[in-house]
């Protein structure tokens, strides 16, 4: 892992250089208490800055920018963080002009593990951004998605009923989602999701979530990693990504200028 070690050293050195000009840089910090998102300031111990385990940082940036409307923050961002920030910017949840993005290219193993199509941030579209590490090829696409159309309705139903029945309604998939930001969540509205029922009645809870991910999901895989019941949520969200791409030519997280198609008129 010598290459990784040098990459993290490069990132730390870069962050140290940039900190004096910024109001802080958002990254992951590992301490004896665990790893969490953290706003690094000048003088902080940068040996605590880490890249793993992956954790989405876009919601932290959004919260900070709203709390401090004049401040200029930085972020150490992987490809998925950058894509999430793109979707958040389109929905007025972050201001790209007040953000310095230090992009980090993921390794080939990471790209493969995540089935990631863009394992490095596209820094060209950000006002202030740099990239560290060497971008690798896209990971192979999720194999289930390619075969999904051949699966009969009956089989799909049996599969998802079984999967959704494992749900303990912990809201972990929503809480970790880097593009979820509504203050009033439909999943907590008793009109749509009956309170006090476990597992949530098939299929409302998960379909509402999936519908809200349409034209928004940036395929970071965090929901699936966070799920304590190992529900393969990204299969549904990948299918929605594919459909939105086919129907509207829209790839979430790809282009800061492209607007989300579901809130636009027909061509």
């Amino acid at each position: 892992m010598a290459e990784q070690d040098t990459l993290i050293e490069q990132i730390r050195a870069h962050v140290e250089d940039k900190l004096p000009a910024l109001d802080g840089i958002v990254a992951l910090r590992r301490t004896s208490e665990g790893t969490a998102s953290y706003l690094f300031h000048e003088g902080d111990d940068l040996s605590q800055l880490v890249l793993n385990p992956r954790y989405p940082l876009s919601t932290t940036v959004s919260m900070l920018q709203k709390r401090f409307p004049e401040a200029r923050f930085g972020i150490v961002a992987r490809g998925c963080d950058s894509r999430a920030l793109v979707e958040m910017a389109k929905r007025n949840q972050i201001d790209p002009d007040r953000l310095y993005l230090l992009g980090v290219a993921c390794t080939a193993e990471e790209a493969e593990e995540c089935h990631c199509a863009t394992p490095a941030p596209d820094i060209a579209q950000w006002p202030q951004a740099e990239l560290l590490g060497t971008p690798v090829e896209a990971g192979s696409p999720n194999p289930i998605v390619a075969e999904y159309d051949a699966m009969p309705l009956e089989e799909r139903r049996v599969f998802w009923k079984q999967q959704f029945s494992k749900c303990i309604k912990c809201y972990g998939c929503r809480n970790i989602c880097p593009v979820c930001f509504c203050e009033a969540c439909a999943l907590e509205n008793p009109a749509w999701v009956e309170p006090g029922v476990l597992a949530p009645p098939f299929p409302t809870f998960h379909l509402i979530k999936a519908m809200h991910m349409a034209a928004r999901c940036v395929a970071c895989r965090q929901c699936e990693l966070a799920c304590p019941s190992h529900i393969p949520l990204t299969v549904l969200y990948d299918l929605m990504r594919r459909d939105v791409g086919r129907m509207f030519g829209y790839v979430p997280g790809d282009d800061l200028e492209a607007l989300p198609p579901l809130s636009l008129t027909l061509e």
Partner: protein, 139 residues
């Protein structure tokens, strides 16, 4: 002997076109199926996926969304969003094994009473063929 299956349909009708179309069908004494439970909404664009899912969860065997024709929306482009959203909901239903034909989007203007009766009759027959929704989403 069990009763023959009669589908229950929730129909979301837009206030400006489809509800008026349904009203005209009634005034003109046209025959339309009694299986339809109409819910008047101000615009077909108001019909969220949550509403569609709740209708299914509450026992609707089919959900019909009727709005103004594209270009005739009282709110200019409300039905454009419907036109984009409902096909996605249909796809999503099919991905978890619910027959997407249980959800239908169509356009009926206020002057199209015959069209209203035709669309509703067609849809009732489609859903009759699919059987009760409880077979698909029931526990």
């Amino acid at each position: 002997m069990s009763e023959p299956f009669e589908p229950r349909i929730v129909a979301f009708l837009c206030n400006w076109c489809s509800y008026a179309g349904a009203d005209n069908a009634g005034v003109a004494r046209m025959e339309s199926p009694p299986n339809i439970l109409p819910i008047r909404v101000m615009c077909s664009g108001r019909v969220s996926p949550e509403m569609v899912l709740r209708a299914f969860r509450s026992g609707a065997d089919g959900v019909l969304v009727l709005g103004c024709h594209i270009g005739d929306c009282h709110y200019i482009s409300g039905n454009h969003r419907t036109a984009k959203r409902i096909p996605l909901v249909r796809n999503l239903l099919s991905y978890i094994g619910i027959n997407p034909d249980r959800l239908r989007l169509d356009w009926v203007s206020s002057a199209e009473a015959p069209r209203f009766t035709r669309v509703t009759k067609e849809f009732v027959e489609t859903v009759r063929g699919l059987g009760p929704v409880a077979d698909e989403i029931g526990d």
